[in-house]
Symmetry: C2
Subunit: 347 residues, 2 copies
């Protein structure tokens, strides 16, 4: 007996919101009623879903009544305000912001990694940060076979991570530079076109930025492994969409690259892209629009007897955000977990 569900997208007009809409359609999610919510600015816009033009409504308490699943992607402060209200009204909130990710009561879920964590939800389920999802998808299958002791990551993050406006800004800057003009900056603190800079999220007292600490703390929570040691350097690069990551893994014993290759070639959500003859490996333009995280250049680390180097690219709007949230929704439906959740969030 198939059921349909009332869905609300909170932040429907953003880059992730639009991807959520597209995925609900293309993956034939059992939608009964679809509500598109956004800030005042976007109210009155219409977005297309399965042939219908749906009016964007203002995100408010009222708009969250009679909703089964809220797919929230409108930023941390809106999630903090409206998330608990939606739960109070009977919805499950799948939250793409960082608002609740580290709350002990909130499952932080990548369906390919820790699907069972969703059963413990109390109304809110958090979607991990994009860089975390991409890395975790690739590292988890290896970690299952031989425990990862330490990760050193360097990221190459696209403009899309800062939203649709950021993508437009990089294009405008590129045009300005090509015409010999000074690039204008609004979304980012520095020009990104033909440039790059360490991720501009706030820094902690140890010199790590928020984005880097998300990779550290979220991975530990998702893996349910507080012993795994992680350091990351997050960098914004002038790529429009899809993040890349250079990952150095350290194990307690050697992890042979052939074995890693074999494991990753059949890992869910991961696609091995390695043509050593043609020097062809994952690239952001190849990962854009793809569901899978592309991984390649898997090699023994020549600087450490138990080290392994690899390179990955993933669509940060898709698997890094929207697709993961939809997969969580699908898992909830499959396990008949959608109705009747009540809030009990301490943070």
């Amino acid at each position: 007996m198939a059921k349909n569900y009332n869905i609300a997208i909170l932040g429907a007009t953003g880059a992730v919101g639009k991807e959520l809409l597209e995925l609900l359609d293309s993956r034939d999610f059992p939608v009964a009623d679809l509500r598109l919510l956004a800030s005042n600015r976007s109210v009155g816009e219409r977005l297309s879903f399965k042939g219908a033009n749906i009016l964007v409504e203002e995100a408010s308490d009222h708009a969250l009544s009679n909703v089964d699943i809220v797919l929230a992607s409108a930023g941390s402060s809106i999630s903090k305000t409206l998330g608990p209200i939606a739960v109070e009204k009977g919805a499950i909130v799948i939250d793409n912001s960082s608002a609740f990710r580290m709350s002990p009561e909130v499952p932080l879920v990548i369906p390919e990694v820790n699907p069972n964590a969703i059963t413990k939800h109390q109304g809110i389920i958090a979607n991990p940060n994009c860089t975390t999802i991409l890395m975790a998808l690739v590292v988890w299958p290896l970690h299952q076979v031989q425990q990862v002791k330490r990760i050193v990551a360097a990221t190459y993050q696209s403009a899309s991570g800062a939203g649709a406006k950021a993508i437009a800004e990089v294009k405008t800057q590129a045009q300005e530079i090509l015409e010999g003009r000074k690039p204008t900056t609004e979304v980012f603190p520095y020009p990104l076109a033909f440039n790059l800079f360490p991720h501009n999220s706030p820094l902690n007292d140890f010199g790590y930025c928020e984005e880097e600490m998300k990779m550290v703390n979220e991975t530990r929570k998702i893996f349910n492994d507080s012993n795994i040691r992680i350091s990351a350097t997050c960098v914004r690069v002038p790529v429009l969409r899809a993040h890349s990551e250079a990952i150095n893994l350290e194990f307690n014993e050697p992890f042979f690259s052939d074995k890693a290759r074999e494991i990753l070639s059949r890992a869910p959500g991961v696609k091995l892209v390695e043509d050593w003859q043609a020097n062809h490996f994952p690239m952001p333009i190849a990962a854009s629009g793809e569901n899978d995280v592309l991984v390649g250049r898997i090699r023994q680390d020549i600087s450490h007897p138990c080290g392994l180097e690899l390179w990955l690219c993933g669509d940060q709007i898709r698997k890094g955000a929207a697709l993961n949230a939809i997969q969580i929704s699908e898992l909830l439906v499959e396990r008949q977990l959608v109705k009747g959740a009540k809030l009990s969030i301490s943070s």
Copy 2:
């Protein structure tokens, strides 16, 4: 008694060649005669030097007579052919290619790191690879205080590393993409504008590319330390000029970030760029045209008790190539080592 020297630039019309010309001028190098050599294609062009328009001549045996210093930057195969001939004719060759870098008889020199190595030259002195120079300049002062055990590097390399044509190609590709057209590729195997890919130099049997192995082997030779363990992931990014590197260092004992900061703030050829309040650190656009390598985001590695993370950007045409070669020339002059060298190269 100041002397002047006959200089030849081999590969004068390339990106590095033009920078060599500019630096000979701006640094008031004691030039007597200046010969600009290039391939057939560029013969007949004229380049300006101190008000004179100098004709570009064809690079040949003949053109290398009566030259004191050859600044070679025309690629490995030309260096292999013409380098030994120039030495035979009495010149010292400062070679920017990889042709002789690992030959035991050839000093591989960064003047701030191993200036004394030049005394052992037998006619050819090699300029290290750009990524190696930038990394070595920053790591060496720390290595002097506490031995570096292991380096894990991830690079963000600009188009300029592949020459003037590559810079033009990225600009053209960006324009094509902004106009909705398919980007054309000629210099690089894949589009680089709004994209990135692992460095396209040939791969060895262990999965490391030539560029990565240069960082490993050249650093060991320059540091005269065969124990230092190094792994690198080299990546080309759509930046026009200046390379960036995320560097993870491992020592035998903790190396405190404040101490590293203090050491690097007074290291030659290095400029500390750290404004933690403003989240402002080295960027390629800031490093372009600068002599110094910019370093910042120095922090304790939270994943390793003896680890240190740092971030650097350096002008790869300038300190990564042309400036280093000019500094070697200046050192030769200062130490009165220019005349009378004879060749004895085994490789």
